[in-house]
């Protein structure tokens, strides 16, 4: 389900089935890394939209967790854990974080849940057809990971 009123209505109604939150983690900068930041935003939103399409009935795609690139990893991790605590409190059983920012790998252990780090694929110069193929291959690799997570958590 997406973070839009229509889907949220189903989410409220069918909450016991929609037990997983998908949280994109996006770095923001206005400095020299701005191009990279935009590329990550584009890539991760395409991948998370596609995952949402695959797992619509069980997954809620929440607004991305954004942070300044300069924010200290511990600090941003603490903030993220607050999100996680709130989601868990409200009954979300599984959280999946998805990012192209490799910094998060340092925090992977203490995050609990599933951190999916995707190396950034430069989609900008690909034609539509090729882009679709690349994305769909990536999704194919992700699906078993997510199903594995569901199996492990139960």
């Amino acid at each position: 389900m997406k973070w839009i009123t229509n889907d949220i209505a189903s989410f409220i109604q069918e909450r016991k089935y929609i037990d997983t939150a998908l949280v994109p983690l996006l770095p923001v900068t206005f400095g020299s890394g701005v191009r990279q930041s935009a590329a990550m935003n584009e890539f991760i939103s395409i991948i998370s939209d596609e995952l949402e399409r695959q797992f619509k009935g069980r997954m809620l795609l929440v607004p991305p967790f954004t942070y300044l690139e300069t924010e200290d990893i511990h600090q941003r991790k603490e903030r993220l854990l607050e999100w996680a605590a709130e989601m868990k409190k409200e009954g979300t059983a599984h959280i999946i974080y998805i990012t192209a920012d490799s910094e998060w790998k340092k925090a992977e252990q203490s995050l609990g849940d599933l951190l999916v780090w995707m190396p950034l694929v430069p989609l900008e110069n690909m034609d539509m057809e090729y882009k679709r193929q690349v994305v769909s291959e990536q999704i194919k690799q992700l699906i078993p990971l997510i199903m594995e997570k569901w199996k492990m958590d139960t």
Partner: protein, 167 residues
């Protein structure tokens, strides 16, 4: 033909390369070939009105295969490329194209994807299952069959229209 093949190899190598980095945990080797159809823009512009060219009849088998296709959709604010998927098979003269959207809460179902349930559509979300013709299997969450696309064949090409409920 030969050059197309070479092309595929280099794409595959590229994918393998990009995927090797994904966590430590993703096996890079398991890229499966996917049934797909390069949509000729001329065809797409549409001998068949609102229908989209999706597959060649010669590619169909008795087993449902996955075909992805896309078209432009105009929203109130912007035009976007929508990608859809259909599971298509041929039995005798009949061509059946089913929507992969689970009729429970909308996850994407896959054909023959669960070892315990061969020759069925399986939904990874809450274990919904459907027969080959899309009929929902009792005792699993979905309460109606998979939706069925309107199918038209012209000059050996399969065109799909809207997916409609079967009941």
């Amino acid at each position: 033909m030969v050059s197309e093949k070479d092309h595929n190899v280099s794409r595959r190598q590229f994918l393998t390369y990009t995927l090797t980095g994904v966590g430590g945990f993703m096996a890079a080797g398991m890229i499966l070939p996917m049934a797909r159809f390069a949509i000729d823009p001329v065809l797409q512009a549409g001998a068949a009105g609102d229908m989209t060219a999706v597959a060649d009849v010669s590619d169909l088998t008795e087993q449902p295969q996955r075909f992805d296709f896309s078209y432009e959709q105009k929203d109130a604010w912007y035009t976007s490329e929508v990608t859809e998927t259909a599971w298509i098979y041929q039995e005798g003269d009949e061509i059946v194209a089913l929507s992969p959207t689970c009729t429970h809460l909308g996850c994407t179902v896959n054909w023959d994807a669960n070892e315990d349930y061969p020759d069925q559509f399986f939904c990874p979300c809450h274990g919904g299952r459907f027969e080959k013709d899309g009929k929902n299997i009792e005792g699993t969450p979905p309460t109606e069959p998979l939706h069925k696309y309107e199918v038209e064949v012209q000059d050996g090409t399969v065109y799909l229209g809207k997916a409609e409920p079967q009941i």
